[in-house]
Structure formats: structure tokens, C-alpha cells
Symmetry: C3
Subunit: 167 residues, 3 copies
């Protein structure tokens, strides 16, 4: 006989992982639709996003990035932020996730791959909803920061401190 409380705990773990995978999978469709509200709400109010050392320090900053003329012109030209499958490690109300991602841009009658990156996420359950506390991305161009993000993510560990200038 299996205990219902133990089943509930295991089920909750699967639901947490589902929620986090779903949240991260939502990022690509949100930014490729140019939907700043949908993208920003994935972050905590004070959540951060560090792309190649460029720092966004809040949900409002993510909203501003998606709303910006440079992002909106990418959307108008045709872009695809393609997210890979996520490896998630949940510990209570905190979680770490890692995935790779591609950014494709329309070019002639097809698309070219502009970026291929490592992504490390630290998430928190806030107000009963998972939210991104820290996202750190580095392009896969041989820089050790990208490798450190992947290793830490697979191990379920916090993002390593990276040089702001390290791309």
C-alpha cells in the first residue's frame, strides 16, 4: 500500500518541473510574437537577465527589452528564439534549470542561425507561481563562461560568477 501523502509529494515534484519547463518553453513564443507582457511576466519583479554581460535587472527591464525598437524590428523581419529541452532541479521553493537555445533570423528565402547559447536559470516560487530570479546566457563560442553555466545547470547548482565582459 502506497501512502497518499508520499504520492502527493512526488506528484507535486512533477507538477513543479512541468510548471518550470512550461515557463521556459513560453519564452520563445512570447518574444517572437513581440509580446512584452507575456515575456516579462516570466520574471520575478526583481528578476535579472544577463545576456553576454548586458544586464537587465528587473521584470520592467525585460519588458523594455522586448518593447524596444531593436527587438521589435527583429520580430518584424522574422525571428525565432528556439528553446531546447530543459533539465530542471527543484529544491523546495527554489529551482535551477539549464537549456541550450538558438536565435534564427530570416535571411533571403530562409533563416540563418545568429546565436547558439547556454542558458542557466535560477527560479523561485513566489505567490505560488514559479518565476525567474536570475537568467544568465552566454553564446557557445568557446568561452568558458558558457561551459560553466552548462555544468552548473546540469549539477543543479547556482550560476557561477562570470565576468561582465566575458562573452
Amino acid at each position: 500500500m502506497t501512502d497518499a501523502d508520499e504520492l502527493g509529494t512526488r506528484l507535486r515534484r512533477l507538477e513543479d518541473e512541468r510548471d518550470i519547463s512550461r515557463l521556459i518553453a513560453s519564452y520563445g513564443p512570447a518574444v517572437d510574437a513581440g509580446d512584452a507582457d507575456a515575456a516579462a511576466r516570466l520574471w520575478a519583479t526583481d528578476g535579472s537577465y544577463d545576456v553576454e554581460g548586458w544586464q537587465m535587472a528587473s521584470r520592467a527591464d525585460v519588458h523594455a527589452m522586448v518593447s524596444s525598437p531593436s527587438h521589435q524590428s527583429l520580430v518584424a523581419n522574422g525571428c525565432c528564439h528556439f528553446i531546447g529541452p530543459t533539465v530542471v532541479t527543484v529544491t523546495g521553493d527554489s529551482a535551477v534549470a539549464v537549456c541550450e537555445s538558438l536565435v534564427l533570423v530570416r535571411d533571403g528565402d530562409g533563416y540563418r542561425v545568429w546565436r547558439a547559447a547556454a542558458n542557466h536559470f535560477m527560479l523561485q516560487r513566489i505567490d505560488d507561481r514559479w518565476q525567474i530570479a536570475v537568467r544568465t546566457s552566454r553564446v557557445l563560442d568557446g568561452n568558458p563562461g558558457a561551459h560553466a553555466l552548462l555544468r552548473a545547470g546540469l549539477a543543479g547548482q547556482r550560476a557561477p560568477a562570470l565576468d561582465a565582459g566575458a562573452t
Copy 2:
């Protein structure tokens, strides 16, 4: 103490989402193997597939598309229909799912990305099996239809009406 009926309901939700993600993830391998039977059975008998305004109106139409000389020559040359992670919203015996996808074709000693698209799925549980009722795809080239599909999909809403000619 957790109630077993409530656990069963939550578990069923996860199983439904798993079934739908698995169904959509099967599409790429099925069509890249040129397997018309495997691809067609993902659709309901009267399920539809609208690609850039080109209308397939039944499971038989999907079967005919995969069997067609143009698709089979794509397979013979080497192609990859690469599906992204799916965001699924289940409501009883209906569901909405959204994902992005790439189509790559062999070109010289590598592959080029021919298409990058938004995909919106409306699914129904029929005969105790999830089946695609309506799939709508639009390429990410700046057209508002693609963005509307992504937004509706993330919100778990029905596919918007799109111009047949809108690509």
C-alpha cells in the same frame, strides 16, 4: 492527508499533457521517415492542417501530403522537421498547444533552415486518445498571423481566424 481522488485528477492532468506533448513530438520523426500512416494518425478523421493558407481538411489529406512525390523527394534528399518544446493547456477533453518549429533541408555538406514557424494546435480526446482537430502554422517572417497564433497558444485560446492568403 491527501485525498486519492484529488491525486487522481492531478495525475490525469499530467498524463494528458504528456500524451499531447508526445503526440506533437512524434510529428517530426514521422514525416522525416516519410511515414504517412504514423503522421496521419496524429490527426482526427476530420482534423485539419492549415500551412500558410494551404488547407488539408482531413486525416486522409495529411496522409496524402506525406505520401506525395514532393514530400517524399524532400525525405529522399534529407530533411528534418524539428519541433520545439510544447506549451499545453488542457480543459477537459479539449486542449490547446503551441510550439515553434524548424524545417531543415540538406544542402551541400550541411543543412540550411528553410522555414521557422509558429504552430497552434487544437486537440480533442476522441475514443480515449488525443487527436489533432486543428493545426495552424505560419512562418515567422513578420506576418501578424504567426504572432496571433503564438499569443493565442500561450493564453490557451482557440486559433484566431487568419486570412487564407496571409503568410
Copy 3:
């Protein structure tokens, strides 16, 4: 009233599928970080990996491949082994999984897609942990072996015997 034992069985199935999807999703980040330990531990001690007829016959062989100068120079230049969503079929302590994958390499100011492949996995639960027993990959260039891997994987069947020389 739902029986707790039946719930436990269904939950275990979802956990198994989660474990296997997570294992396969870990491959890309592990090899793109050049982390031979993380990649090798996905395989059983005597697990095999057949890429285009090139045979690795053990966990140690996979470790050696990731540690090799040719793989490490790929990592130093910038590469991305991008894994698609996995279709998993569990039968007791055995499982079959199938997915497509891309390998991208840095080229100028972007990336080019070097390979697009079909991947078939046979897994075993060993020491209470899922491990890869047999992985077989063939590039999607029209060769029938790749199609046979995809069809067998979707059907939850063992990998077909392929010519060593069939690429």
C-alpha cells in the same frame, strides 16, 4: 475512490519518462561543455553508441570521444548539440526513446548546421538509475537507416540492425 497502488504505478511511469527525457536532454549541455564525465555517466558501463557506423562500445569509449582533441577543438571553436523533444516508451526496466538532433558549429559571425540526425535509444534501469544501453544515430540524408530508426523509435521497438557502412 481511486486506489493508491494504481496511482503509484501511474506516477512511477511519469517519473520514469521524466528521468529518461532529462537524461537525454542532458547530453547536449554535457558534450557542449566538453564535460566527458557528465556525458559518459549517461551510458551504462557496457553501453554502446553507434554514430554513422562508428562504434563506441562502452561508457569509457564515450568518455574518450568527449575527451578527444577533435571533440575538444569543436568545443573550443563553439558547437551546439541541440536535442529535440523525446518520445519515450517504458516497459518495466527497459525503455526505447527517439528524437531528432542538430549539431551546429560556429561559422563567421553565426552558426551553420553541420548535421541533422535521427537518434534511437535503448535504455535500462540499472542500480535504480536509467542508463543508455544502445544509442544509434544516422544523419537525415535520405539513407533508409535513419528512417528505420525513427519508425522503430516511434513504435517503441528495438533498433533495427543497420549496415556498419550505411550512413
